[in-house]
């Protein structure tokens, strides 16, 4: 049996059922798939949905791609 220290709150849904004003929500991640480990360390994350690399500015075009 899964250890649930706080009864009634699990599983945490992807987004809350009832959204309230003046609150911030981040989607709750559930496992879908993983990169191979060598690729994961190189990318900085195990999870494709969290891999969000920075697209660098091109200095020759005044910051526009």
């Amino acid at each position: 049996m899964m250890h649930t220290p706080y009864p009634g709150i699990y599983p945490i849904p992807f987004m809350p059922m009832y959204v309230m004003m003046a609150r911030a929500y981040v989607p709750y991640q559930t496992y879908i798939q993983a990169y191979p480990l060598t690729e994961a360390i190189q990318k900085g994350t195990l999870f494709p949905e969290l891999y969000q690399p920075y697209i660098e500015k091109d200095p020759h075009w005044k910051g526009e791609k």
Partner: protein, 191 residues
């Protein structure tokens, strides 16, 4: 208690050194307001009063990882300065850095402003603390992007991209801790 592994979380090999100017830029991620030291000390201090086992565990884990990032930053700074001569410092107008410390590190930002505990906060309110932590991750991500714009050293860029991605992942994890804490607080009001 910590177990020390005598290797970096991510390997660092600076491509083109010495480059004391780039080392100076990187210094903000060492002892700057949104640097890795600030992050580690913020999280390892907040963990005592945060409710829920998930949030306590997360602050300890991420706080520990930020210490590993401190090592990565200092390794880059060391590699960029270890073979630098006095002339190299003078050539990029960094004689004042050399005059004070030679090649020693110091907990300061790139402008030499010393690290201060006022960079970090703790309020015991878990919503407040987690929002600060999420903001800290975003600020560190933005600074890594500025650093990526400031260098074309492939070795430095490679490590900076890894560290930047970790900020993205940590933001997600703090966001999930916030979701658990929100549910936990709401459930307590009902029972």
């Amino acid at each position: 208690m910590w177990i020390y592994e005598k290797k970096l979380q991510y390997p660092v090999r600076v491509t083109c050194g010495p480059n004391p100017k780039l080392a100076q830029y990187l210094l903000t991620q060492y002892g700057g307001p949104d640097g890795e030291l600030s992050a580690a000390l913020r999280y390892l201090n907040q963990r005592y009063t945060i409710p829920t086992n998930e949030a306590k565990g997360l602050l300890t884990d991420i706080g520990t990882e930020e210490l590993a990032h401190v090592e990565i930053i200092t390794t880059m700074i060391y590699q960029l300065t270890k073979d630098a001569t006095v002339e190299d410092y003078e050539a990029v107008d960094m004689g004042s850095f050399y005059a004070i410390r030679d090649k020693a590190l110091f907990y300061s930002d790139s402008n030499g402003v010393p690290w201060t505990a006022t960079y970090i906060q703790a309020h015991s309110d878990p919503i407040t603390d987690l929002h600060e932590d999420m903001a800290a991750e975003q600020k560190a991500r933005a600074v890594y992007e500025h650093l990526l714009n400031l260098t074309d050293d492939p070795g430095v860029k490679d490590a900076l991209r890894f560290l930047r991605e970790r900020e993205v992942v940590h933001f997600q994890r703090f966001g999930e801790a916030l979701r658990i804490v929100q549910e936990y607080i709401d459930a307590k009001k009902i029972y």
